[in-house]
Amino acid sequence: MKAVRYVVLFLGALIFLFPFYYMLIGSLQSAPDTSIAGALPTNGLTLDNYADINSRVDLLGSLINSGIFTGGVLLGTVVFGVLAGYALARLRFRGRGTLFVLVLLVQVIPFQLLLIPLYVLIVRGYGLADSYLGMILPFAINTTAVFIFRQFFLQLPDDLFAAARLDGAGELRVLWSVALPLVRPALLTAVLLTFIGPWNEFLWPFLVTKQADMQPLAVSLANYISNVSSRAANPFGAILAGACVLAAPAVGLFIAFQRHFVSTDLGSGVKG
């Protein structure tokens, strides 16, 4: 039974990891070799494909755009999301119940329903096409993160807050020096989760940015895929090189912090 379990797990892991391995290998081969032996090349690896994709897509510029887009969302989520999560968990104020119902509702409303009106408002109404603000706005405060923050602030003992308030600390001070240090692991989990969203997001920045020099890497790589794959004879090396560049930051961060992607953190976020 035990052996079966590990066979299933490792076989699954192999299937899950193989495309990533193949992505890396493909990005290093000068000509695509799709035979089975080609998956295990022994020589002839080169970085030419990276130079090639860089000449067609401004990799550094796109990475910077992705970084600003993601950074803006993270900043909004960490600052305003933490404030909202704290207020929802620890403060009694008028409208709290309504706001919490909204937090739950928002998670059910699919983004595609908002797509057309958001496009009309942000691009046509506010003239925010090809701007960082236009990209960031719909994702500015991640509601799932607000929810996770609330759950974690809720779990802190009441006495802690009573004591701090008794000492005459204001709410911001309680939040900053008492509550925040205690929820640092949750903060990291929420930041990592929030990071994945905008870094990998394609549809919205694709709609908002038409100028190549404003596009995040996911968009410029997708445009490269959809424009050349029909014409070029052999575009895969360059596509895979771009894919590696796009995947590396998220995968790297995930591996470095993988123990923070634990089921209990997320579970409390999902189960409510």
């Binding site: 990533f20 706001l99 329903l113 046509r124 794959s229 029909s230 999902v270």
Partner: protein
């Protein structure tokens, strides 16, 4: 106690988020519904134009559109393949992972990595794997389908369904792992005392115990399916071959923004969400029946 509550400062702290919800969710939501009942089109900037009320015209146009019919049929194919595959594989792998002692970190990374990677990046490698001369076909040799996977009318949508299963499975394994932590150990012990086989324990203890998680997994997989855009846009070059892998959101993009009929797209969006809500409700009733 007081009109503003015991801690009025909470209103100030949560105000930015409340404003954000109003501007980014509530208002566009109302706007979408409004747009779907009016003749809305893109006018030149600054031009003042009328958007007359047209009743259910947009809905009639959507419901009578063959492209929309096909997109919904495609999503049905997608769900029939994706949902059972996702729930089954995620539960089996979560159970195995839950009991595993060795190499847990490695296995977790392996299963979650597709989930944290951008669709655009992994679409690149799937295009490479599944194209006519790709590795999958050279491994299959004479068994390779003709035309190849992504340009074959009957295989394009199933290939997308398998791709999305692979991409999202890590997240669902995570949900099941969380649910498994709450299954009382005594249930397994008494089942073992009764001499139940491992297979029986899985069917009669684990599966019923994680039922709420299954309901959530099914609903989230459904929402993912309804949101499908990047995969048909890139993997099959815009819903090809001849619309066989078009999704409703892809049609929304094509009709609403490319062809300038946002009112049509808004009505399609409203119908899509109503569809998701109905299926989610039926799913809940079925899973929570007993």
């Amino acid at each position: 106690m007081r009109f503003l509550g015991r801690h009025p400062v909470g209103m100030i702290l949560s105000a930015p988020y409340a404003v954000y919800l109003a501007v980014i969710f509530a208002y566009p939501l109302g706007f979408a519904v409004w747009m779907s009942f009016h003749d809305y089109f893109f006018a030149a900037p600054g031009a003042i134009v009328d958007h007359p009320f047209v009743g259910l015209d947009n809905y009639r146009a959507v419901l009578g559109d063959p492209g929309v019919h096909q997109a919904f049929r495609n999503i049905l194919i997608f769900l029939v393949i994706n949902v059972p595959l996702t729930t089954g594989l995620a539960l089996v792998l979560a159970v195995a992972l839950n009991r595993a002692v060795h190499a847990r970190a490695f296995l977790r990374v392996a299963f979650y990595v597709p989930y944290v990677t951008a669709s655009v990046a992994v679409v690149g490698v799937w295009l490479f794997l599944f194209n006519t001369n790709g590795l999958v076909n050279s491994a299959l040799g004479p068994l390779a389908p003709d035309p190849s996977w992504l340009i074959n009318e009957s295989l394009a949508m199933p290939t997308i369904a398998v791709f999305v299963t692979w991409k999202q499975l890590g997240f669902f394994i995570l949900l099941y792992l969380a649910a498994l932590q709450n299954v009382p150990k005594e249930l397994y012990e008494s089942a073992a005392v009764d001499g139940a086989s491992a297979w029986n324990r899985f069917w009669s203890v684990t599966v019923p115990a994680v039922r709420p998680a299954t309901a959530l997994v099914v609903i989230l997989a459904l929402i993912t399916g309804a949101n499908l855009f990047t995969e048909p846009y890139l993997l099959t070059g815009g819903g090809g071959p001849s619309g066989a892998s078009a999704s409703p959101v892809l049609v929304m993009y094509q009709r609403g923004l490319q062809q300038g009929e946002p009112d049509f797209a808004a009505a399609l969006g409203v119908l899509l969400v109503i569809g998701v809500l109905i299926v989610a409700y039926i799913n809940r009733r079925l899973i929570e029946r007993d």
